[in-house]
């Protein structure tokens, strides 16, 4: 099959690789019909995430048709159309039973690597480094899905793939960000970062009762999309715009009831021998980029909530914890507990409350993926979201 492979920092290649096979009773093999490049894939592309190996298959946002199931999978059959959550969960452990699916105890075969860095390991993820499980990703024609009796969401309606694809990560991630923001009806919510997760956080904040959403970014195409979802926008790159002042001006001096940091630190941290330098570089990048978190802590109103869907990996420098304490704020964060949100958000799509496909700007083949990684990383061609049809031939252009 064809697959998009990480071959080193800033080096992505589309290669022909062996097809995946069933390895465990609860596995399924999925023939992928649509897959996407996530903003967090750029962290891998840029080499910020340790424990990537040349030849690792990328991709954690995908859907398709069930090709084959193991003997432990009773709820799926060949031909079923499914969306796969990017976090892998067993459904049996203490954490899955608490519905903290992204904290699953049993889905990361390399849990010991995470334990060294974080104390405890979270769930395994598709296509996201060896410390996250070393699972092959879904920017490919086929993928092996473990615990397929728990994660995959069956799509019974005739909704096109593009409308339901983002149930695999970014729509639930944006929604959980809004839920974590503990929005009360009438609240004003500020969202830093208007990439796909930020866009879905904006839309979800309105669904949860926000009266006003303020979106902060610098890219015109993203700010325009945010306005199309009903947000008012602040372009922090404009001369004379100071975000903290803007947020005071737009909230009568009170500050936003909730702040959502959909930017993150853009790097994970591991403390493996031999990767020390990689980690050190990653940490320095993170330290440089703590700006959004600091700003959000400053901006949020007294007793407000800070929600962090943006990815953080390591140690943060100069976090204004005194301000957080002084205002009595609440902070909520973490990888998305995907399995809680997929079905209810599918229902919202079916009812026509939201069309997630409106963020898509580019539709490509697997062969075009390597050049699109570069274009997106460099923020060219007004990219907002790239979707791949793994069976499409390279377009004629």
């Amino acid at each position: 099959m064809k697959a998009v492979c990480w071959m080193g920092t800033s080096k992505i290649e589309t290669l022909t690789v062996p097809d995946p096979e069933l390895l465990n009773p609860r596995d399924a093999i999925i023939k992928i019909t649509r897959t996407a490049i996530c903003g967090s894939d750029l962290h891998l592309y840029d080499g910020f995430i340790p424990t990537m190996e040349a030849g690792d298959i990328m991709g954690h946002e995908f859907m398709g048709l069930v090709e084959e199931v193991g003997p432990g999978v009773k709820n799926l059959k060949r031909g079923d159309r499914v969306v796969i959550p990017f976090t892998i969960a067993c459904g049996n452990c203490l954490f899955c039973k608490k519905k903290l699916w992204s904290a699953c105890d049993n889905s990361n075969p390399n849990a010991h690597l995470m334990e060294k860095a974080y104390g405890y390991s979270g769930s395994g993820l598709f296509g996201y480094s060896h410390m996250m499980g070393g699972y092959a990703g879904g920017q490919a024609q086929y993928v092996r899905v473990p615990f397929a009796d728990v994660g995959p969401l069956k799509i019974e309606s005739d909704l096109p793939d593009e409308k339901v694809l983002f149930l695999s990560d970014i729509f639930p991630t944006g929604y959980m960000a809004a839920e974590n923001a503990q929005i009360q009806p009438g609240d004003t919510v500020a969202v830093w970062g208007c990439g796909p997760v930020g866009q879905f956080a904006i839309a979800s904040a309105f669904m949860l009762g926000a009266a006003r959403v303020i979106a902060i970014d610098r890219l015109p195409e993203r700010l325009e999309l945010a306005r199309s979802y009903g947000a008012i926008t602040v372009d922090y790159s404009e001369d004379d715009v100071k975000v903290l002042t803007a947020l005071k001006d737009l909230t009568g001096g009170v500050g936003p009831d909730a702040c959502i940091d959909a930017v993150g630190m853009e790097a994970h941290m591991g403390d493996l021998q031999g990767l020390y330098d990689t980690v050190k570089v990653a940490l320095m990048m993170e330290t440089d980029r703590a700006g959004v978190l600091r700003q959000a802590i400053q901006a949020v109103r007294k007793g407000g909530t800070l929600s962090v869907p943006g990815v953080y990996g390591g140690l943060l420098d100069k976090v204004p914890f005194g301000a957080a304490f002084g205002k009595g704020i609440t902070m909520k964060m973490g990888q998305t507990n995907m399995h809680n949100y997929m079905q209810p958000l599918l229902e919202r799509i079916e009812k026509g409350q939201i069309d997630p496909s409106s963020i898509i700007s580019h539709r490509i083949s697997l062969d075009e993926a390597p050049e699109m990684y570069k274009i997106w990383r460099d923020k060219k061609e007004n990219v907002t979201k790239i979707v791949i049809d793994p069976w499409k031939e390279r377009s004629a252009s």
């Binding site: 424990t51 067993c90 075969p109 690597l113």
Partner: protein, 218 residues
Amino acid sequence: MCAALNEKPGADVLPVSSGASALLNGRYLPPPEDGDGKLWIRTSVIIQAEAGELHGMWSDVESAPQWQEAIEAVTKTGERTSHWVMKFGDKTIEWDSEVLADEPGKRIAWRSIGGASENAGEVMFEEAPGGRGTMVTVLQEFRMGKLASAWETLVGRNPKQAIIENLRHFKALAETGEIPRSQQSPAGPRGWIGGIKRSLYGEKIATPEGTNQPLTQS
């Protein structure tokens, strides 16, 4: 400390407190320190299964290769004794083991009685606080010897970590009926630096099968 590890088979009176326990009279008890050529490791997990069921799974020593790394075969040789074969590459290590104490649903203690490995251990099963499953604690003692050095150089896993991983596999198997494993990362050959990293990531050690169930299509 760890009286259970010195018990004699068929002892009439079993010690009141378990050797593996992290608690003694309401106080935290740290694990034994390495020394005198001995390595100690204590590790615990919470498993969503009944203590009796887990005790049964652990007692079934002939099924140990399903969840213990590098264990090729285990044969019961008597009511309390078994023969263990560990294999990595073309190297094989064998030893005999005897059960020192066995309280169904509570604990099992064992030690090696000859062969290439000198080890002793105990596993205890107790209800987790708040009834949130069964807390399973393993205390294992090794002598640094052939076993440890072969383990480290060939398996690329330090023997303490192997105990942690085996308990993790035991939990996954008990809770999910399988042991997680990944494939195709990377999709192609890794080269020699990749090979070193493979050791470092612990990916060089074959994940135990977890099940004998065939993967036929349903």
